[in-house]
């Protein structure tokens, strides 16, 4: 994708995945955030696509590499590669289609099965502009998000509502998790609770602190 620039300067690179049922608007959320574009005529996603955008978090430049995939069950066969190294996820449902909200639980289970326990997850109710067709109440979604300990936001890729907020919030939270971990390790590595480490700069890990680097191969 043309948005990818190698010469961009950044402090952190985070891999974020977009997941959720087919047709909920994952690709348009991605294009709205990375290119400020929205298309009513967008095609279904085949396989995997990605785009990047850098934002400022506190005094650092955080580059988000956002992966977008086909929602069809069939493409789940390639998920382990898709999730590998992800430190953030937007789990998207369509507020006008209740079934896409019902499936959120399955997506969450799969996500958690494939990623680090520190992954930052945001539940995203997209197409919030279609208020008159709303089939999932904000309260239900909020309650679910609280129960599952995820963030939650309703967005509209079409009206550009909350898209920026959703991604920025996820990236900021990741930044906090990662820098807290760095701090913890600096202080007393033994104090890190087991299973709580966030893997940065690992072999197969895309997300990384740039200075540590994943490209020293």
């Amino acid at each position: 994708m043309a948005a990818y620039r190698a010469d961009e300067d950044y402090d952190y690179l985070y891999k974020v995945v977009l997941i959720g049922d087919s047709g909920v608007g994952k690709s348009n959320l991605l294009s709205r955030f990375t290119r400020n574009e929205f298309s009513l005529e967008s095609k279904s996603t085949i396989g995997v696509e990605f785009a990047t955008r850098s934002i400022r978090v506190e005094d650092k430049i955080v580059k988000a590499q956002i992966w977008d995939t086909a929602g069809q069950e069939r493409y789940r066969a390639i998920t382990s590669a898709y999730y590998r190294g992800a430190v953030g996820a937007l789990l998207v449902y369509d507020v006008t289609r209740h079934v896409t909200f019902e499936n959120v639980e399955r997506w969450l289970k799969e996500l958690r099965g494939h990623t680090d326990s520190n992954i930052v997850i945001m539940l995203v109710g997209n197409k919030a502009d279609l208020r008159h067709l709303c089939a999932v109440s904000t309260e239900d979604a909020k309650a679910f998000a609280e129960r599952e300990n995820t963030f939650f936001m309703e967005t509209s890729a079409l009206e550009s509502m909350n898209v920026e907020n959703a991604f920025t919030e996820v990236l900021t939270q990741i930044y906090h998790v990662v820098s807290r971990k760095a701090l913890d390790i600096g202080g007393d590595p033994a104090a890190l609770p087991k299973g709580q480490t966030i893997n940065v700069g690992g072999k197969d890990d895309v997300s990384a602190v740039k200075k540590v680097g994943c490209c020293n191969a």
Binding site: M1, A2, Y4, A6, L13, S22, G23, L40, E41, S42, K43, S44, T45, I46, G47, V48, E49, F50, W67, A70, G71, Q72, R74, Y75, A77, I78, S80, A81, R97, H98, V99, A135, D204, V206, A208, C214, C215, A217
Partner: protein, 305 residues
Amino acid sequence: MWGAPAEPADSYYEVRPECTDVPKTRFKIKPGKTLSARKWQAAFTPEGQLDIGKTLSRIHRGGIHPSIRGEVWEFLLGCYEPKSTFDEREEIRQRRRLQYSAWKEECHQIFPVVGSGKFITAPVVTEDGQPIQDPLVLQETNSGISASSSKMVKELLSHGPLDKKVIQWMLTLHQIGLDVIRTDRTLVFYEKQENLSKLWDILAVYAWVDRDVGYCQGMSDLCSPMIILLENEADAFWCFERLMRRLRGNFRCTESSVGVETQLSNLASITQRHWAEVTISLRSECLWSCSVENFHFVTHYISGR
């Protein structure tokens, strides 16, 4: 005709006026280069045997005039032997049309939305074959069909639990619907409900017939041109079926892989061997992982540059 300026082909595939950012087609009808209807017809003997060799170089150099594209594609895709006669082809055509309607009728018997001029975009059964009553489906199917879809499924269930292959098929129907409404949406052609449901019907019937593949995202894009080029639904189905014979391997899935991965792994090894520079540059940008799974992602990167 000679020396006449090349004519753009956009008027043959009209784009909705509100879609302003659709790139113009790069294909141009070039007199003397593009295969014209006249040249095409001249390649047949009176009995209808085609000297396809006469047409191929033109097709290769200048493409096919949109007015004859459908019938030419039937030959190119291998639906008919060039050396067959008009009569032989007509017989095959009729036989295939009957076969298609028989399959479509089978599907209609299981799920009457097939062939009704409507289609669905929300699931109608759960994975264990229980009916789902999605208000959206009721809305999508209410007029014109006597029974609502949930009633249909209940009726099916009244003969005992659904067969596994029926469940598998029914689970793909809403996915087909979700993709049909996103396929070539910039074209005026798809403003017509009947063309949308034609695309849905063909893909639904195909999924029923080719159970190994069923339906996989991406297939709607392959099927769409057939419907645009061939007016008869059954003829369009058979062209699509022919194309799928070559491509179905890409869509076949096992527990751990998608068919296209084999191709990608081949492409990956070729690239690694012959395109060291690209490989190095990809490595340096954190993108390259030697694992095959990531290669589809890398190809996007290459093509996007």
